[in-house]
């Protein structure tokens, strides 16, 4: 449902801020209602499952599964979504393209729901990646800002890499267990822990979770992700998405935890994160930066709790996840309000906000007090649970010390945050702060209220739901715990109070003696910059890839071909079968002398073309045409009129298009004309290339000859001959073969054709010819020719091209008719879509040549792109049409229609397929033609400037 919403939202108009928000909230409310409605079911200990066939043959199902844990996270997600949408409605400026925002937001929500509810591990990873993607899009929402783009890229790289690790880990896990269904996986924890693959699997999954939850050493992306709009920061990067990693760890806790690897990796990363990030947070000047680092440290705290591995720690972890989501989301929103109203987030400027916006300030102070762990607020409870867990940890006392240090740091940064609300009101703010609109404040109020309620009466408010989640994870291991504010004077309480007091002292010391507000770098640890490492790594990667490319690759085609051909020849020589004998007697038997003469001419032409290709391209082209004509005659003599026809058309079009292209190639002068000696090395290289080409050509010829003289077994052509009429509905086997039996091939081929023509067009669109071929060619510059005093348009309309032009205009309808004729008869007689397309293209090419580009385009609207699109769509539609009748893709069908004028004609569905081929051929030929023709137009337009360019270039040299 959120995905559908996302789709709808994407199409809403730019200024539909209210409608977008309504849509999004409606979806969130629906989700919330459904979630709440499922509460009784889940509360009764039942696991709700829903399953759809996805790829049953591969053991993959689209399955949804909701237990207590998923329910709790779902409820959290839905509530936060609702609040964030409400908040974003007021936060986003009317100038921002809101549809995109809400569309991404809903897409994110959908993927997050997917992660939470997936009952299949693979499916969960899929949604996991989708959340990364949505996060990327949301961070880069203000894509005109460089920091947003950079942050988005960084977060995507890190989280997607983690996602890849996760996928690998999950695949290994699935392999160990033998199933990807979560139910099956959760049931066999002992098996997994005992398996030799346990360590790599666990490490990979942990990598996935830690990158997502910004754990050390992957924490650096989160502060950079703060370039996103504040609703996004509060939604994705504090309350929901970063919790996905935590969720995954909790989810797989029953099967992966309990080993020393688990404890060391998870708790170790958690402690590093927690301490470093909270230390960093103290020295931030940006409000959002502070919150980002504090988010990281809280995530670290939760990770530590998970790493401790005792059931009570699990309770604390889940509880703290909830608490953190409430107070951190509200803090982000409060910061957003401050930013929105005062125009800055710099803590060095902001002062005395309590006087200007008392209400918001109070809310923010309460929330940050919860963050610091002040009693009677929810943060206090979970933090106390954390302290008591560290005491019971089996690996020594240092964990408790770390916890207290963390407590001190967190109090310090909370104080740093709170400080902006006190003091003299600042005067130099970009805009005068005042209270935000009523409903913009509401989400903050609601969340802070939650903090208070949970903090004062935890057992009544959050207790049952928490219990539900804990039970679904721990099952029978569920410990006895009590959520109470007052547990009596015990060590955790002392630790809390001590941390609070020391934190205050620490902050005061920093403030008074260490000049906190003027430190730009984080002391001691500023060298631990993950972002710096990330950037250098990528720089290194780019440079390294460049180096590898220069070593192993080349942009010149000659060496590539050299390598390919050499490898081909060597492998062919190695694999050459011994029993191959060339029986030349077979070739000379029944030799028709005229045919031999024809071939002699053809071969001479081909050799001549190769000979002249370097210095006299035009001659080579003409000789090539001669070879083409000979090939065409050969086809005719061997009774293949279809091929002959096609060959003729192809030759014509090719010759004209190459001719048009030749004009832009600079002339090549032979060494004799240039009076230079060709060095011996060059001769050596050329001889090598020549012999290589010769061997390759000889090999190909030998191969073809061998294939031809090998006695025919039962070949596939007999099959086609037999079936063409009965099954393909046409007596022209070649055509039936192309459009029916091997329709899928043809479809691929016309796609290639389309791509090629689009590429040619794209390349020529920005093509700048070599300076020496920029000026008009000598033939068009010679004053002896009277035509040069006319513009191309004049030449075509009244000049020497007038008579041919008029003649051809007369003929072109006939050519079009012939094209239609060839097309219609294609299925049974020589012809078909390809030839017809070429014929039509020739008609248009002729018009271009004789009437001129300007004239023709003023009268005929060609749109080759639409031809291409039409052709491809028709082909696809024809192929897909077979599905409607329950046949596989591209199955063809023949009917006979009786039309009033034409009599009975038979219409196979391949007819429409052929129509598509026809359109694609016409479109791609015209597209290339247009590209070439416009190249000529462009250079004619500014001969003066190009001339001067050329001259300056000459002077420079």
């Amino acid at each position: 449902m959120p995905f559908v919403g996302s789709f709808i939202a994407a199409f809403m108009p730019e200024d539909a801020r209210n409608r977008e928000a309504w849509l999004a909230s409606f979806i969130a409310v629906c989700g919330l209602v459904v979630t709440l409605w499922l509460y009784p079911l889940v509360a009764s200990g039942e696991v709700i499952r829903y399953r759809l066939e996805w790829m049953p043959e591969m053991g993959l199902y689209f399955s949804l599964r909701m237990d207590g844990l998923a329910w709790l996270f779902m409820a959290l997600l839905e509530v936060i979504t609702l609040l964030v949408v409400l908040y974003a409605r007021y936060y986003m400026s009317p100038k921002d393209p809101v549809p995109r925002f809400f569309s991404f937001l809903l897409a994110f929500k959908g993927s997050m729901v997917g992660v939470l509810l997936s009952g299949n591990l693979i499916q969960m990873v899929l949604f996991w990646e989708l959340t990364s993607l949505a996060s990327f899009l949301l961070i880069s929402y203000w894509h005109h800002r460089a920091d947003a783009r950079r942050g988005a890229r960084m977060s995507l790289t890190v989280t997607a890499t983690g996602g890849l690790c996760l996928l690998t880990g999950v695949l290994m896990l699935g392999h160990i267990v033998g199933s990807y269904e979560l139910d099956d996986v959760l049931a066999v924890g002992d098996l997994v822990r005992a398996h030799p693959w346990y360590v790599p699997t666990f490490i990979l999954i942990a990598l996935g979770a830690m990158t997502k939850s910004a754990q050390f050493p992957f924490h650096f992306w989160l502060p950079h992700a703060m370039a996103a709009p504040t609703p996004v920061s509060s939604y994705l990067h504090s309350a929901t998405m970063v919790k996905a990693g935590i969720f995954l760890l909790i989810r797989l806790w029953p099967i992966l935890s309990g080993t020393s690897e688990w404890t060391w990796v998870v708790a170790g990363a958690g402690i590093c994160t927690m301490l470093l990030a909270s230390f960093f947070a103290i020295f931030q000047h940006d409000l959002k930066g502070l919150l980002a680092y504090s988010t990281i440290s809280h995530l670290g705290l939760i990770t530590v709790l998970l790493g401790i591995g005792s059931p009570l720690a699990m309770v604390a972890a889940i509880f703290h996840t909830l608490n953190h989501a409430t107070f951190k989301a509200s803090l982000f929103m409060a910061v957003g309000i401050i930013d929105h109203e005062s125009g800055t987030r710099d803590m060095r400027q902001l002062r005395g906000l309590l006087h200007m916006m008392p209400y918001t300030s109070t809310l923010a102070i309460i929330a940050s007090a919860a963050m610091a762990g002040v009693p009677l607020l929810n943060g206090f409870l979970s933090k106390e649970m954390f302290f008591s867990e560290t005491l019971h940890w089996g690996y020594g006392k240092w964990m408790s010390v770390a916890a207290i240090v963390y407590g001190i740091f967190s109090v310090a940064y909370s104080l740093r945050f709170i400080y902006v609300f006190f003091g003299k009101p600042a005067q130099d703010l970009p805009s005068q702060p005042h209270e935000p609109p009523r409903w913009m404040r509401f989400p903050v109020e609601f969340l802070v209220l939650c903090c208070l309620i949970v903090g004062i009466i935890p057992g009544l408010s959050i207790g049952p739901m928490l219990h539900l989640a804990v039970e679904s994870v721990l099952g029978t291991q569920t410990p006895h715990y009590s959520l109470a504010v007052w547990h009596g004077f015990n060590t955790p309480l002392m630790m809390s109070i001590g941390a609070l007091a020391l934190g205050v002292v620490f902050y005061t010391v920093l403030r008074l003696f260490a000049n906190l507000t003027h430190i730009d770098k984080v002391p001691v640890f500023h060298r631990f910059s993950g972002a710096q490492a990330y950037e250098s790594f990528f720089l290194w990667l780019t440079v390294g890839a460049g180096r590898v490319e220069t070593w192993l690759s080349t942009r010149r085609i000659q060496p590539q071909i050299l390598v390919i051909l050499s490898v081909a020849i060597i492998s062919a020589a190695v694999a050459w079968p011994k029993e191959v004998k060339f029986d030349f007697a077979l070739a000379t038997k029944d030799l028709d002398p005229w045919f031999a003469l024809l071939w002699l001419i053809g071969c001479t032409c081909a050799v001549g073309a190769a000979w002249q290709a370097k210095y006299h391209r035009l001659r080579a082209l003409i000789l090539l045409g001669g070879t083409g004509v000979i090939t065409c005659i050969t086809f005719l003599m061997l009774s293949a009129p279809d091929l002959a026809l096609t060959q003729l058309m192809v030759e014509t079009v090719t010759a004209i298009l190459i001719l048009l292209g030749l004009r832009w190639l600079p002339a090549r002068l032979s060494p004799k004309e240039l009076n230079i000696e060709v060095p011996l090395t060059v001769w050596g290289r050329r001889s090598r290339d020549f012999s290589l080409a010769f061997i390759a050509g000889l090999g190909m010829a030998g191969l073809s000859y061998w294939v031809m003289i090998t006695p025919k077994h039962e070949t596939i052509s007999d099959f086609f001959m037999l079936r063409a009429l009965t099954e393909g509905g046409g007596s022209n086997v070649v055509n039936v073969l192309l459009v029916d039996f091997r329709g899928f091939d043809t479809m691929g081929e016309i796609c290639v054709l389309t791509i090629v023509s689009l590429t040619v067009y794209a390349l020529l669109r920005r093509f700048r010819p070599a300076p020496e071929s920029m000026p008009l060619p000598a033939q068009q510059n010679n004053l002896a020719d009277p035509a040069i005093r006319q513009t191309p348009q004049q030449q075509a309309s009244v000049g020497y091209l007038m008579v041919p032009g008029v003649y051809l205009r007369l003929i072109s309808p006939v050519i079009v008719l012939i094209a239609a004729y060839l097309f219609m008869r294609g299925h049974n007689m020589p012809g078909g879509g390809f030839v017809a397309g070429l014929t039509l293209a020739i008609a248009i090419i002729l018009q271009y040549m004789l009437a001129g580009t300007t004239w023709i385009e003023a009268r005929l609207i060609l749109r080759p792109g639409r031809w291409l699109a039409f052709g491809l769509s028709v082909v696809l539609a024809t192929g897909a049409g077979a599905w409607l009748f329950g046949y596989p893709f591209l199955t063809s069908h023949t009917t006979h229609l009786t039309l009033p004028l034409l009599g009975e004609i038979h219409v196979p569905s391949a007819f429409f397929f052929d129509l598509g081929v026809f359109a694609v051929v016409v479109g791609s030929t015209i597209l290339i033609l247009v590209a070439l023709a416009h190249q000529a137009l462009r250079s004619h337009r500014q001969p003066g400037s190009t001339q001067s360019d050329y001259q300056t270039l000459k002077e420079l040299n």
């Binding site: 033939q779 002896a784 020719d785 020497y800 008579v803 041919p804 003649y807 051809l808």
Partner: protein, 125 residues
């Protein structure tokens, strides 16, 4: 390629044969002219004759033959004739223009004295 040649009435055979031979002769003469004539502007006429007259004769032969074989008037060849008549002059014109251009470039035609030597006689190579 096996054509079953049914016996034709004698007079039809004679007509067809006569036109074929005539067409062949004309094309041959055209080819000879292309080879032998001294000057480009004279040479260009040789294929023109071959195309119009020679192809015309052969097409007439074809019409007569197929009309007789299929016992109905077969006049597709008229279309071919029309197309040949339409396209051949275009080719000739463009080729001749290229020749004129070449001669202008080489200074073989002098525009200042238009009437003096409109079609210069080239020297034998």
């Amino acid at each position: 390629m096996i054509y079953v040649i049914e016996p034709l009435p004698l007079w039809i055979s004679v007509i067809v044969a006569a036109f074929l031979i005539l067409g062949g002769l004309i094309v041959f003469i055209g080819g000879l002219g292309l080879l032998r004539l001294p000057n480009f502007y004279q040479r260009i006429h040789a294929p023109a004759i071959a195309i119009t007259l020679g192809a015309g004769s052969i097409l007439i032969a074809s019409m007569v033959y197929f009309s007789s074989v299929e016992s109905r008037p077969v006049i597709h060849e008229l279309l071919i004739t029309i197309f040949v008549f339409l396209t051949a002059p275009i080719t000739s014109m463009l080729i001749m223009r290229a020749a004129v251009y070449r001669d202008l470039q080489d200074g073989k035609i002098d525009y200042s004295k238009p009437s003096s030597q409109p079609f210069p006689v080239e020297k034998e190579d």
